[in-house]
C-alpha cells in the first residue's frame, strides 16, 4: 500500500537545496597553470625581454645623474685655503673654538643641470639603533615642551634644584648634526688670484615634506594675548647637553627652533648606518643658477663642529642632480639587468631542452 505511506509534502519545499551559483559550486573560472616548459618558456622570455632593457634604461638614467662627493672628515685632505691641520683631531681634543672653518676648493668639470640637491653624509653612524631611535618625544616636538616621556637618558636635567625638561629631549635630538655649509662659485684670474666669489644660493624649499612642518614639528605657541618671543617660550627648558646653541636660536635661515629644516631632517632617522641627508637645494630663481650649477671652480666653507672620530665616522658633502629615477643609484638598474639576463638565459636553456625533447619524440 505504497500510496498510503505519507510522502514528503510539496509544501515543505527544498529548503536545503544549495545555491547553484558558480561561487557556491566552486566553478568560478580560473586558470591554474602546470609549470611545464611550454607554459613558462614564453613567460620567462617575455619577462626577460622586458627586464633587461628596463635595467639598461635605469642604468642610463642613473648614469646621467651627476654627483660630486667631498669627504672632509679630515679637512686637510682637500684643503686649499683653510686650516691644514687634522680638524677632527683638534675637535676631539676640544681645542677648536666655534668659529673654526674648513674651506675646501673643488672643480666641477661639467654643468649640473636642473635641480641640484646638496646632502651631507655620515658613515658608520647608527642612527637606526633601537634605543637611539626610541629616545625622542614626538609630542614635545609638536610644541608641548613638558612632554619628555621616552626621552631617556636626555629627558630632564636638574638645574639649580628644579627639574627642567630638555628641549628638544632625547638622544636623537642631542646628537644633532651641527656642521653648516656655504658654497661659493669662484673665479680665478690667470695668475691664480681669486677674482670673483659668488654665493651659491641655497633654499630649504622641498627639503622636508610639508606634513612635517605643518603637523609634526611645531614650536610652542604664545598664549593668546601675550606676544612672547621664541626664547621666552623656551625659557623653562634646557638645551640638550651636546648642543652649542639654544634651541630658540637654531635656524636654517628662515625658520627657528623645532621648525628649523635642519632639525627636522636630522630627526627623521636614517635606516642604515651610512646615510646622506638632504641639506639644501639650489635656489634656481637666482639669475646665475637658473639652469643649475655651471661647471667651474667652487669653494665649500664648513663650520666644523661635529665629532665623528669616536665611532670611526666619516663626513661628506654631496652635490647631485635629480633624474626621473632619483639621484645617482645603480642598485635597481643592476638588479633589473641581472634578473632580465637570468630570465633570458633560462628561457634559452628551456628552449634547448624543449627542442631536445621534440627531437626525441620524433625519433620515437
Amino acid at each position: 500500500m505504497p500510496d498510503d505511506l505519507p510522502k514528503i509534502p510539496r509544501s515543505r519545499g527544498k529548503k536545503n537545496k544549495p545555491s547553484e551559483s558558480a561561487l557556491h559550486q566552486q566553478k568560478l573560472r580560473a586558470y591554474k597553470p602546470i609549470l611545464s616548459i611550454t607554459c613558462t618558456l614564453p613567460l620567462f622570455f617575455i619577462l626577460g625581454a622586458i627586464f633587461t632593457p628596463a635595467g639598461l634604461l635605469l642604468f642610463k638614467a642613473a648614469q646621467s645623474a651627476q654627483e660630486y662627493n667631498i669627504t672632509f672628515t679630515n679637512c686637510n685632505a682637500t684643503g686649499i685655503d683653510g686650516p691644514v691641520r687634522g680638524a677632527e683631531d683638534d675637535l676631539q681634543k676640544g681645542i677648536f673654538n666655534q668659529s673654526l672653518k674648513c674651506i675646501i676648493a673643488f672643480n666641477l668639470s661639467e654643468d649640473f643641470n636642473g635641480d641640484v640637491n646638496f646632502y651631507y653624509g655620515l658613515e658608520n653612524f647608527y642612527q637606526n639603533h633601537r634605543r637611539y631611535v626610541k629616545s625622542r618625544n614626538d609630542i614635545q616636538l609638536a610644541g608641548n615642551l613638558e612632554s619628555t616621556a621616552d626621552c631617556d637618558p636626555y629627558s630632564t636635567t636638574n638645574a639649580s634644584g628644579v627639574d627642567l625638561p630638555y628641549a628638544p629631549c632625547g638622544a636623537v635630538a642631542n646628537s644633532m648634526y651641527n656642521d653648516t655649509f656655504k658654497l661659493f662659485k669662484t673665479k680665478f684670474a690667470d695668475n691664480g688670484l681669486l677674482t670673483e666669489l659668488m654665493d651659491v644660493p641655497f633654499t630649504t624649499d622641498g627639503v622636508v615634506w610639508s606634513i612635517e612642518t605643518k603637523r609634526k614639528f611645531l614650536n610652542p605657541r604664545s598664549p593668546p594675548g601675550q606676544n612672547k618671543t621664541l626664547c621666552e617660550l623656551f625659557s623653562n627648558t634646557v638645551k640638550p647637553p651636546n648642543w652649542q646653541t639654544d634651541v630658540c636660536k637654531l635656524t636654517d635661515g628662515s625658520s627657528f627652533g623645532f621648525e628649523s629644516v635642519d632639525f627636522i631632517v636630522w630627526m627623521n632617522v636614517a635606516a642604515l648606518p651610512t646615510f646622506r641627508k638632504l641639506y639644501r637645494r639650489l635656489n634656481r630663481t637666482s639669475a646665475n643658477f637658473t639652469n643649475g650649477l655651471p661647471k667651474g671652480t667652487y669653494r665649500l666653507e664648513v663650520d666644523y663642529n661635529y665629532p665623528v672620530k669616536a665611532f670611526n665616522g666619516q663626513k661628506r658633502f654631496i652635490i647631485t642632480t635629480q633624474q626621473w629615477t632619483g639621484p645617482k643609484n645603480y642598485f635597481l638598474s643592476i638588479a633589473y639587468m641581472t634578473v632580465g639576463v637570468f630570465l633570458l638565459s633560462f628561457s634559452f636553456l628551456l628552449l634547448i631542452i624543449y627542442l631536445k625533447q621534440l627531437r626525441e619524440e620524433k625519433n620515437k
Binding site: 500500500m1 505504497p2 500510496d3 498510503d4 505511506l5 505519507p6 514528503i8 509534502p9 510539496r10 509544501s11 515543505r12 527544498k14 529548503k15 537545496k17 544549495p18 545555491s19 547553484e20 557556491h24 559550486q25 566552486q26 566553478k27 573560472r29 580560473a30 602546470i34 609549470l35 611545464s36 616548459i37 611550454t38 613558462t40 614564453p42 627586464f51 628596463a54 653612524f125 647608527y126 642612527q127 637606526n128 639603533h129 633601537r130 634605543r131 629616545s135 614626538d138 631617556d152 637618558p153 638622544a171 646628537s175 615634506w209 603637523r215 611645531l218 632617522v269 635606516a271 648606518p273 665629532p307 669616536a310 665611532f311 629615477t325 635597481l332 638588479a335 633589473y336 634578473v339 628551456l350
Partner: protein, 1318 residues
C-alpha cells in the same frame, strides 16, 4: 509535578523536555523495548558551538515542563540521600508536595545538591559581560601569547614596536570575538523575552499530583546514556524497578504521543544530555599534527635567532673604546651606564617581540576560518545534495576536512549504507516449500534479483525506485490461496490433536498429515511475521496537537497513556479512519532502527473523533476501585455515540477512491460492521475476565491508548497502587468549546511504524498475504486473518533483539490453545542452533531443516537477506518457571541486562523451524560506480557487514567491490590454530607471487591508460596488486567471516592477517559484530598505518565510526545515532566519491598550500628583520617604514580620506601612512622595486618547478604532454603553445589518478584541468 507532569511534545519539531523524567510505571512486559534507542541527543549544530543552541532549544521547547515545575512547584527536584549507607551513589527523589513550599533550598532534600530546572539562556549580564568574556577569551593560547607580547612591549627597555601599535591586533581580535559573543547572547535574550510572554495561567487544575506519594530511588546524575537503574518505593514498602526503558532523556522527541506523565529525576545541568555534551567534537588532523611540529621548529629557530642577536649585540657594544662619546649610543656615565651583557639580555626579549611572527599563531585562526569556508562550500555542493530527501551533506566536525584527502581505507557498512535499507519481502520458504514472488503480481514489473545481474537495481531511474516501497510486496498467488484456505481447525482450539482436516485441493500430493503440518506451519509462519516485532500500528500519521505555546489545539486529546486518566473508551476501537490529506502527511513513515532514537510525533486524533472531556470526567470519578464497572459504563457511553462515527468515517473513505486504486496490490478490505466490532469486543472482554491476572484490569485501561507509544508509557500498576482516580492534566486554550466526539472505527489501511525496515517489510508482507497486524497494544496484539477472522493474542513478553543473540522473540498466549507460544525470528545461525532435538529428528523437521537450508543459501546467493522464523509452544509449567526467573531478572537492580539476556537465552531453546524469508535490500544508486572510482583512486574499500557470507559476497560483486577478474581468498576456520595455518598458507602464496613479480624486474609503474571518457585513468591501486593485475593475475579480494575474524584479530595471528590484508584491494567481513567492526578499523589504523574512513548508517556502526579517523554517517532509514557519532553525514553512499576525491583533495591541497605560504611569508618577514640587525648594531630594531608601508597600503584609502579630520598634532605617528604611501606611489623607484621583488620571489620556485617538471614530469603532466603531442601531430609544431593554451582553457574534465610511490602507499590526486575551483 511530583506525580506527573504532563509534558507535551510535538512531532518533528524541536519540542523537547528539558529534564529527564521517569515514566511512572515500569515496563513490565518489555513490549516496546530497544529503548536504548530512546535518546536523541540534541542535534549538534553544524557551524557553531552547540551550547547556546541547546540552551535555546531547551528554552523554547521545555516550557511546558519548566513552567509547571517552577510555577506550580509540582516538581520533584533531584535529591540525593547522602545518608543512605547502602547505596551511597544513589539519590532519592521525593515529591515536592511533601514539603512546605516555603522550605529553603538548603533544607529541601530535593534541592540540596543537585540542579533545579531553572534555565538561564543568556551567558552574560550587562555587568559581567566584559570580565567574563575576556576571561573566557584568555583561555585561548593564541590570545595569551599575543597578550604576553604586548606586555613585553610595555617594558620600556624592551619595547620594540610602539606600545599602542602592538596592541592593535590583539585588541581587534578580542573585540571581534566579544562583539560576536555579545550578539549571540543578545539573541538568546530576545528569545527569552518572547518566551516569557506566553501565558500559563489557564491551566486545568483537575490534575492532582499530590496523590502520588511514592519515592524514587535512582542513580546519581551520570553521563551514561544507556544505563539507568532505579526503584519506585511505595509507601507500603513495596518496590518496583525502574529501568532505562522508563526514562525519557532530555532532548528526546516523543512520537505518537500527545503527552506523557512522569517524574523529574534529573534537571538542568544534571541531565544526561547535558553531562554528555562536552562541546563540539575536536579531532586533530594529520596536517595539524605536522603543522604543530613545524611550529615547534619555528620556536627553535626563533630562539636561535634571538640568542644570536643578543650575543652579537653584546659583542658589538663591547667593541667601543669610549661608548659615552659616541653620539648614537644612549648611554651616559652614571645612572644609565653601559652594561653590554645586560643590554644583550634585554635585547633577547626585544628580539622575541620583533621576531614573534616566526611563530605563526595567526595561522591557527586562519586555518580555522579556511576550514569553515571549506566546510561551508562542501555543504553547498550540488552534487552532494540529495533532492528526494532534501538533504545536503552535514559537516559535523569542522576541523578535519583536509583529512578527507588523505583517506586510504574506506570501511563501509552494507545494509543501509551500500543498500537502500528499503527492505522488500521477496521470497519465503514455509515448511520447506519455496514461494517466490509471482511475476504476475499487481506490480506488473518483473524484477530480477540484484545479485544476478548487478545492474537491475541501479539502472532504474530514481523516481521509479522511490515508488517502490517496503509495502510493495508481490504476493505469491499460490501462497495467498493457501492462506485463504487454512483449515478451520486452526482457529477452533486443539489443532494438534489429530483432528481430520480437509485438503485444500490444490496439493493433491500431500498426505493429510503433511498438509496439516504445512497448514500449521503456514499459520505460524505468518503469525510470527505479524507478531514478532515491535511495529506500531497507526490509522494515520501522527499529528501534533500542541500549538506553538504548548496548548492543545482543540479540546481533547488521547488520554490512553495517562496514569491519571481512567478513560472509559472501548479498548478496541480507538483507532480511527481518517483522511490522510497532504498536510497531515507531513509526518513521515518514521521507521526507527533497532537502536534508533524514537522520534516522537504527537498525534492528533481527527477532528471528527474528538471526545468530550466533560463527558468523560464524571465517568472517571466513578472509577475508584472497580475498573471493570467503569469500563462497562464507558462502553455504554461510547456505543451511544458510535452511530455517527461510522457514517462519517465511510464518507471520508469515499473521498479517497483514487488512493485505493493506486494501491499496487490487492489487500482484502476490512469489512467490519458496527456489529462485528461489538461482537469482537465482547468476545475479548470475556477472554479477559476469565484471565484474572491482577495487572489485566489496568492493562485494559491502558489499552485505551489510541496509538500505543513506543516508549512504553503505559502506567499499569500505578493506577491501583499509587493513585486514586486521577484525571489527566489538561491544558486548553480558553474559549475553546467542547465538541461532540465520535467513536473510532478500525483502520482501513493501518500505517506501520517500525524500528527496523526488516520488521516493516515482514509486517507488510504478512499483510499482503492477508495476515494483518491490526492493532498492537502493550499487552495484546490483534491480528486479522484472511477472511476477516480476528485473533487477539495476549502479549506476555517481548525479548528484544540484541546483536549477541541475533534474534528476537515474543511470547504470546494463543487465543486458540490458551497456551504460551514463543515466536522467534533471527539470523539462521542464531535460530538453527536452537532447534529442538525432537524437531531435528522428526522426519518432517528434518525435511524442513534440510530444505530451508537449501533455500537459505539460494536466497543468499541472490543477495537476499535471510531470516529464520521459529516457534516454540511452552507448557504452562515451563512458562511459569521461566516467568518467575525472568521477573526476578527484571527486578534486579544490578546486572539486569545480563540477567535478562540469560533469561532470553533460556527460553529460546527447543524451537521448531517454521520457515525462512528472503528480503531484498536494493543497492543504492551509484554505489558500484562510487566504489569503483574509489578503488581506482587507490583507496581500499572494505565492507564490514552483519549479513551472511553468500549475501555479502553477492552484494560485493553487485557493488563492484569485487570485480569478476578478482581472485577471492576466503578465510574461514573454526579455531585459532586452523586460522593461523591458513593464514600462513596464504601469506606464503602471496609473497611468492610478489617475489616472482619482483624477480621479473618489472617495476609496478605502468603507463596509465585513459578510459574512453578521459575522466578516469586507471592505475593499479598499489604495487603488488598492480604487479598482479598487469601481470595477468587478478587482484585479490578477501572474504572473512565473523568467527574467523575474531581469531584473526588475536595478537598471535594478527601479524599474518595484516600481511594478507595489506595485499588485498578489497576486503569483505561478514557476520561482524559492531565491536569487530571497530577493531578492524583500529587494525587498519594502527597496523596498516593508513587513514581510515568508516561509513555507516546504524547504531551498530557507531563504534566503528567513532574509531575511524573520519566517521561518515548515512542519514537514511535507521536512526540518528550514526549521524550523531559521525563527522560528516551524507544522504547517499555515492556522495562519498565526490567527498573524498574532489573535496578531500581540494581541502588538503589548499590547506597545505596555505600553511606553507604562511611559513614562507613569516620567514621572509622575520629574516628580513633579522638580516637588518647586521646594519643596526644588533639592537633589535625593526625595519623602518616596514610597518608603515604595510599599513599604508592597507589603510591608505581610509586614512588618506580622513587624515585631516582626526590626526591632531598630538598623534604619535612617526610617518603618517598616507604620506608614506603618497610619496611611494609617485616614486618610480618604489614600483620598480615592487615589481622586481615579486619576480624575485616567484622566480626560483618557477624555475625549479619547470626543471623538475621537465626532467621528471609527474604522471599527470606526462599524460598532458602525450595528449598535446597527439594534437600537435595534426598540426604544425609551431602552433603548440597557442594550442595547448587554448586547450587548457577549454578542457573541463577532472582527472583522477594515482601515483604509486616507492613504499607501496598511494597518493591520490585529483587534477582539475582548466577549471580551478577556488
Amino acid at each position: 509535578m511530583a506525580a506527573a507532569a504532563a509534558a507535551a511534545a510535538r512531532a518533528g519539531t524541536s519540542k523537547e523536555p528539558t529534564v529527564e523524567l521517569s515514566v511512572v510505571a515500569p515496563d513490565k512486559k518489555g513490549h516496546h523495548r530497544r529503548t536504548s534507542s530512546l535518546w536523541v541527543p540534541p542535534s549538534r549544530p553544524t557551524f557553531s558551538n552547540p551550547t547556546p543552541i541547546i540552551r535555546q532549544k531547551a528554552e523554547t521547547s521545555g516550557r511546558a515542563l519548566k513552567d509547571l515545575v517552577t510555577c506550580r512547584c509540582l516538581s520533584c527536584c533531584p535529591f540525593a540521600d547522602r545518608t543512605s549507607a547502602t547505596h551511597p551513589e544513589y539519590r532519592k527523589v521525593i515529591p515536592n508536595h511533601k514539603f512546605d513550599s516555603g522550605t529553603p533550598r538548603y533544607e529541601h532534600p530535593n534541592r540540596t545538591k543537585y540542579a533545579d530546572n531553572r534555565i538561564r539562556t543568556t551567558k552574560y549580564s550587562l555587568l559581567t559581560f566584559l570580565p567574563k568574556n575576556l576571561f573566557e577569551q584568555f583561555h585561548r593560547f593564541a590570545n595569551l601569547y599575543f597578550i604576553f607580547i604586548v606586555m613585553l612591549n610595555w617594558v620600556p627597555a624592551i619595547e620594540a614596536f610602539g606600545r599602542y601599535l602592538s596592541m592593535i591586533p590583539i585588541t581587534f581580535v578580542l573585540m571581534v570575538t566579544a562583539v560576536k559573543d555579545a550578539f549571540e547572547d543578545w539573541r538568546l535574550l530576545q528569545r527569552q523575552v518572547v518566551a516569557s510572554l506566553a501565558n500559563y495561567s489557564k491551566l486545568d487544575s483537575e490534575f492532582k499530583p499530590t496523590d502520588f506519594t511514592a519515592t524514587i530511588e535512582c542513580e546519581a546524575p551520570n553521563n551514561q546514556i544507556y544505563r539507568f537503574n532505579g526503584n519506585l518505593l511505595y509507601e507500603d514498602g513495596t518496590k518496583e524497578a525502574v529501568s532505562k526503558n522508563n526514562l525519557l532523556l532530555r532532548g528526546c522527541e516523543m512520537r505518537n504521543t500527545d503527552f506523557i506523565e512522569g517524574i523529574v529525576l534529573y534537571a538542568g545541568k544534571d541531565t544526561k544530555a547535558m553531562l554528555n555534551n562536552s562541546g563540539p567534537r575536536y579531532k586533530r588532523s594529520e596536517l595539524e599534527r605536522l603543522t604543530n611540529w613545524d611550529i615547534v621548529w619555528c620556536v627553535v629557530i626563533l630562539l636561535v635567532m634571538c640568542v644570536t642577536g643578543a650575543v652579537f649585540s653584546t659583542i658589538w657594544l663591547n667593541a667601543f673604546d669610549d661608548p659615552y662619546k659616541v653620539a648614537y649610543l644612549t648611554f651616559v656615565e652614571g645612572s644609565s651606564s653601559l652594561k653590554p651583557e645586560l643590554e644583550g639580555f634585554i635585547n633577547f626579549w626585544s628580539y622575541i617581540i620583533v621576531l614573534q611572527v616566526m611563530i605563526p599563531i595567526s595561522l591557527y585562526v586562519s586555518i580555522e576560518i579556511i576550514k569553515l569556508g571549506q566546510v561551508y562550500f562542501m555543504s553547498q555542493d550540488m552534487e552532494m545534495y540529495y533532492e528526494p530527501a532534501d538533504k545536503r551533506i552535514q559537516c559535523r566536525a569542522l576541523n578535519i576536512p583536509e583529512e578527507l584527502g588523505q583517506i586510504q581505507f574506506v570501511m563501509s557498512d552494507k545494509t543501509g549504507t551500500l543498500t537502500e535499507n528499503q527492505m522488500i519481502f521477496r521470497r519465503c520458504a514455509v515448511a520447506g516449500v519455496d514461494y517466490g514472488a509471482s511475476s504476475s503480481s499487481s506490480n506488473g514489473e518483473a524484477r530480477s534479483f540484484p545479485g544476478v545481474s548487478g545492474q537491475s537495481s541501479t539502472g532504474k531511474p530514481l523516481a521509479q525506485l522511490n515508488r517502490e516501497s517496503v509495502a510493495d510486496v508481490a504476493a505469491n498467488a499460490d501462497l495467498v490461496q493457501r492462506i485463504e484456505n487454512l483449515p478451520d481447525e486452526l482457529f477452533l482450539g486443539d489443532f494438534s490433536n489429530g483432528a481430520t482436516m480437509t485438503s485444500d485441493g490444490g496439493d493433491d500430493d500431500e498426505s493429510p498429515d503433511e498438509a496439516r503440518a504445512n497448514a500449521s506451519d503456514i499459520y505460524h509462519f505468518f503469525i510470527n511475521m505479524a507478531l514478532c516485532n515491535t511495529v506500531v500500528v497507526n490509522a494515520q500519521p501522527h499529528q501534533d496537537r500542541l500549538d506553538e505555546s504548548g496548548f492543545f489545539v482543540g479540546d481533547s486529546f488521547v488520554t490512553g497513556n495517562s496514569a491519571f486518566h481512567v478513560s472509559a473508551t472501548d479498548p478496541d476501537t480507538p483507532d480511527q479512519v481518517v483522511i490522510v490529506n497532504d498536510k497531515a502527511a507531513t509526518a513521515l513513515p518514521y521507521r526507527n532502527s533497532l537502536e534508533a532514537p524514537v522520534r516522537p510525533s504527537v498525534r492528533l486524533p481527527p477532528i471528527n473523533q474528538r471526545r468530550t472531556v466533560a463527558a468523560l470526567t464524571p465517568l472517571e470519578t466513578q472509577i475508584e476501585e472497580d475498573l471493570f464497572a467503569a469500563r462497562s459504563a464507558s462502553e455504554t457511553a461510547l456505543k451511544s455515540e458510535s452511530g455517527e462515527t461510522v457514517s462519517e468515517a465511510s464518507a471520508d473513505a469515499s473521498k479517497q477512491p483514487k488512493k485505493h486504486k493506486e494501491t499496487s496490490f490487492a489487500i482484502p478490505e476490512i469489512r467490519t460492521t458496527e456489529h462485528s466490532e461489538a461482537e469482537d469486543n465482547g468476545e475479548e472482554n470475556e477472554n479477559e475476565s476469565e484471565s484474572s491476572q491482577p495487572a489485566e484490569a489496568s492493562t485494559r485501561t491502558n489499552n485505551l491508548s489510541a496509538r500505543p507509544s513506543m516508549l512504553s508509557l503505559n502506567l499499569s500498576k500505578l493506577n491501583i497502587k499509587g493513585f486514586k482516580g486521577l484525571s489527566p492534566l489538561l491544558r486548553f486554550k480558553k474559549g475553546q468549546t467542547s465538541e461532540r466526539s465520535e467513536s473510532p472505527a478500525p483502520p482501513a489501511n493501518p500505517i506501520y511504524e517500525a524500528e527496523s525496515p526488516d520488521e516493516l517489510s515482514l509486517v507488510y508482507a504478512a499483510s499482503a498475504y492477508g495476515v494483518r497486524l491490526l492493532k498492537r497494544h502493550v499487552n495484546s496484539v490483534v491480528i486479522e486473518l484472511a477472511g476477516g477472522r480476528r485473533q487477539r493474542f495476549e502479549l506476555l513478553h517481548t525479548l528484544p533483539f540484541d546483536s549477541e543473540r541475533k534474534r528476537m522473540s515474543v511470547i504470546v498466549r494463543s487465543p486458540i490453545t490458551n497456551r504460551a507460544v514463543l515466536y522467534c525470528k533471527g539470523a539462521d545461525s542464531a535460530v538453527m542452533d536452537t532447534l529442538s532435538e525432537r524437531f531435528k529428528n522428526d522426519s518432517h523437521g528434518q525435511m524442513v531443516i534440510f530444505k530451508s537450508q537449501q533455500y537459505l543459501s539460494l536466497y543468499a546467493s541472490y543477495g537476499l537477506r535471510t531470516l529464520c522464523l521459529a516457534k516454540r509452544e511452552l507448557d504452562d509449567e515451563e512458562y511459569r518457571e521461566w516467568k518467575q526467573m525472568h521477573d526476578e531478572a527484571e527486578m534486579c537492580l544490578e546486572n539486569r541486562e545480563r540477567l535478562i539476556f540469560e533469561s532470553a537465552m533460556r527460553v529460546e531453546t527447543d524451537l521448531e523451524l517454521v520457515g525462512v524469508t528472503g528480503i531484498e535490500d536494493r543497492l543504492q544508486d551509484g554505489v558500484p560506480e562510487c566504489i569503483e572510482a574509489l578503488r581506482r583512486a587507490g583507496l581500499k574499500v572494505w565492507v564490514l557487514t552483519g549479513d551472511k557470507i553468500e549475501t555479502a559476497v553477492n552484494i560485493a560483486y553487485a557493488s563492484k567491490l569485487f570485480s569478476p577478474g578478482m581472485e577471492l581468498i576466503q578465510l574461514s576456520a573454526k579455531n585459532e590454530h586452523d586460522t593461523s595455518e591458513m593464514l600462513d598458507h596464504y601469506v606464503e602464496m602471496l609473497e611468492n607471487r610478489l617475489g616472482s613479480t619482483r624477480a621479473s624486474g618489472r617495476r609496478a609503474r605502468v603507463p596509465p591508460t585513459a578510459d574512453e571518457g578521459g575522466a578516469l585513468l586507471e592505475t593499479p591501486a598499489n604495487a603488488p596488486a598492480a604487479a598482479g593485475g598487469r601481470g595477468g593475475r587478478s587482484r585479490i579480494g578477501l572474504v572473512v567471516n565473523g568467527q574467523t575474524l575474531a581469531f584473526c584479530l588475536l595478537p598471535t595471528v594478527e601479524d599474518k592477517f595484516v600481511r594478507i590484508v595489506s595485499r588485498c584491494t578489497s576486503v569483505l567481513c561478514c557476520r561482524a559484530t559492531p565491536l569487530q567492526k571497530a577493531s578492524v578499523v583500529k587494525l587498519a589504523k594502527e597496523r596498516l598505518k593508513g587513514k581510515v574512513l568508516a561509513i555507516g548508517d546504524g547504531a551498530n556502526d557507531v563504534s566503528m565510526i567513532q574509531c575511524a579517523d573520519v566517521g561518515v554517517g548515512i542519514s537514511g532509514q535507521e536512526g540518528m545515532q550514526a549521524v550523531m557519532a559521525s563527522d560528516f553525514a551524507l544522504a547517499r553512499f555515492r556522495f562519498l566519491q565526490r567527498l573524498l576525491l574532489v573535496h578531500g583533495h581540494w581541502c588538503y591541497d589548499r590547506l597545505a598550500r596555505t600553511i606553507l605560504y604562511f611559513f614562507y611569508k613569516n620567514a621572509l618577514f622575520v629574516f628580513a628583520i633579522f638580516w637588518y640587525q647586521l646594519f643596526n648594531g644588533f639592537s633589535s630594531q625593526t625595519i623602518p617604514f616596514f610597518l608603515s608601508l604595510t599599513l599604508s597600503f592597507l589603510a591608505y584609502f581610509v586614512f588618506a580620506l580622513t587624515y585631516n579630520l582626526f590626526v591632531g598634532p598630538e598623534w604619535n605617528v612617526k610617518d603618517p601612512p598616507n604620506m608614506v604611501a603618497e610619496h611611494a606611489l609617485i616614486d618610480i623607484r618604489f614600483w620598480a622595486a615592487l615589481i622586481i621583488s615579486c619576480v624575485l620571489a616567484l622566480l626560483p620556485r618557477f624555475a625549479i618547478q619547470v626543471l623538475l617538471n621537465t626532467h621528471q614530469p609527474s604522471d599527470v603532466l606526462a599524460e598532458r604532454i602525450k595528449k598535446r603531442a597527439k594534437t600537435a601531430t595534426s598540426g604544425p609544431n609551431d602552433g603548440n603553445f597557442v594550442k595547448s593554451f587554448r586547450a587548457r582553457w577549454s578542457r573541463k574534465e577532472k582527472t583522477v589518478r594515482i601515483i604509486p610511490d616507492e613504499t607501496g602507499g598511494n597518493e591520490v590526486q585529483v587534477v582539475e584541468a582548466s577549471v580551478l575551483h577556488l
